[in-house]
């Protein structure tokens, strides 16, 4: 094989993908600060036309009231910080994760975004059940856990056949196979990317350690264990899962450490499915999807 690209180059190339989610941590900081004025929030959100439009659309949906909201400021006042952040997370991160990079992991277009949404919803539901982690933080950590995969597939897709063969021949995890072939793996890439966009440490740690939560710093273990569980519950549903999905590392011992029981997870599964169904139906591919009787 030709020499793999250096890790820093992979991360730099990823930053050239459209719609990088750099605005999200700035917005998170602003929304968590009780002294932030609505004018300041509005100024941040106005930097992103797509996000402004999503905020207006949500504020004008039937769920939030009958009267029309025709300015961004009114929409922000109607939604409140918690809802604004949820719309922003989905809009900003979802847009970046929707970049069409179909090589590498065997994804169909949109698969990474669908799977990440499932993990986000699952993490939020488990967090609500357990009471151990703030559900909105779990949601965002789930949404962003695989950012490194998009970057790696974008810059190194040509070398994925070697990753595939190494994984198959050695029956190791896909991540370990990436490490052998490239010298780094998608979690290294994800951690660097989130750090470069100034994301908080809990989300950086999640991107770095979600396949191996026991290696994370102790203070982040509950969050990362929730994402680890959410990842595997979402894999079971199969939606948006690439060919690497079922070779993702699983450490069932960490669940007990943070109070997640098998019963809790089994009961969560139908809830995850029903909560995800609306979003998945809206964005799922229609008939076809490359399968035929040939």
């Amino acid at each position: 094989m030709s020499d793999p690209l250096p890790l820093q180059i992979v991360c730099e190339m990823a930053k050239s993908l459209p719609a990088a989610p750099w605005l999200l941590p700035k917005l998170q900081t602003a929304l968590l600060n009780p002294d932030t004025t609505v004018e300041e929030t509005e100024a941040l959100i106005k930097k992103d036309a797509g996000l402004s439009s999503a905020i207006l659309r949500t504020a004008n949906s039937a769920f939030f009231g009958d009267t029309k909201c025709d300015t961004l400021r009114n929409a922000l006042l109607r939604l409140g910080n918690r809802e604004i952040f949820k719309v922003a997370s989905l809009t900003i991160a979802g847009r970046w994760l929707s970049n069409t990079v179909t090589g590498g992991y065997g994804w169909e277009a949109g698969d990474l975004c669908k799977h990440s949404l499932c993990v986000a919803i699952a993490a939020e539901i488990i967090a609500k059940e357990s009471g151990k982690v703030p559900p909105d933080v779990a949601y965002l950590a789930g949404l962003l856990h695989d950012v490194g995969k998009l970057a790696l597939a974008y810059s190194c897709a040509d070398s994925f056949e070697e990753v595939r063969l190494h994984q198959r021949d050695n029956q190791c995890s896909w991540r370990e196979s990436e490490k052998v072939i490239f010298g780094y793996d998608h979690t290294d890439v994800g951690g660097i990317l989130l750090e470069s966009w100034s994301y908080p440490q809990n989300l950086i740690q999640t991107a770095l350690y979600y396949p191996r939560p026991s290696l994370a710093a102790h203070e982040y273990l509950p969050l990362i264990a929730h994402v680890h569980a959410a990842k595997h519950l979402s894999l079971q549903l199969g939606v948006g899962v690439g060919e690497e999905g079922f070779t993702t590392e699983l450490d069932e011992t960490v669940f007990a450490q943070v109070g997640l029981t098998p019963e809790m997870m089994e009961i969560a599964m139908p809830k995850i499915l029903m909560a995800a169904e609306k979003i998945l139906n809206a964005i799922s591919a229609g008939p076809g999807k490359g399968v035929s009787f040939g």
């Binding site: 690439g242 069932e252 098998p262 035929s292």
Partner: protein, 159 residues
């Protein structure tokens, strides 16, 4: 040719020969097809978990579970004029994460639950395309009962 999509935790049956029934991305879920070759009636179940008993309210969506989903499947087939006892049965899905050692053996739990139920109902399973570490999209053609299977990065094959 019309196409019916089966979602996760969903069941669809048809008696139209020109129909293809599709479900996307079976992970640890199982996809069961039943096809009555005489009446040309067939359907597909996409079940997520083996047993409905601990789920209370969620059992409103009965096709999520192998036990309640198969009960409804037999009933719908009969309503459409098919006979479950003379159906060809094929089973797909049931993938499993490579390091699963307890709760996350969901794929094999689903397969085991279905095979036990099929034996109890005396329904021979013609095809058991389950397990492994990959998801499967399946398309079931009611004109001849064949099922096309797609897995990531592999060619489509027919069972």
């Amino acid at each position: 040719m019309s196409e019916i999509i089966v979602g996760v935790g969903d069941l669809q049956v048809s008696n139209r020969e020109d129909t293809v029934i599709t479900t996307f991305a079976l992970g640890s879920c199982i996809g069961v097809t039943l096809w009555d070759p005489v009446k040309k009636v067939g359907g597909m179940l996409h079940a997520m978990l083996p047993d409905s008993k601990i789920h209370g309210k969620a059992t409103e969506k009965r096709a999520m579970f192998v036990d309640t989903g198969m009960q409804d499947f037999f009933e719908k087939l009969r309503q459409m004029g098919g006979n479950p006892e003379s159906c060809q049965c094929k089973l797909f899905g049931g993938a499993q994460v490579m390091q699963a050692d307890s709760f996350f053996k969901i794929g094999s739990r689903n397969v085991t639950a279905f095979l036990a139920l099929a034996e109890q109902c005396r329904i021979p399973v013609l095809c058991n395309e389950t397990g492994g570490q990959y998801n499967r999209t399946i398309k079931f053609r009611l004109s001849d009962g064949l099922v096309a299977v797609k897995t990531p990065n592999l060619e489509v094959f027919v069972r």
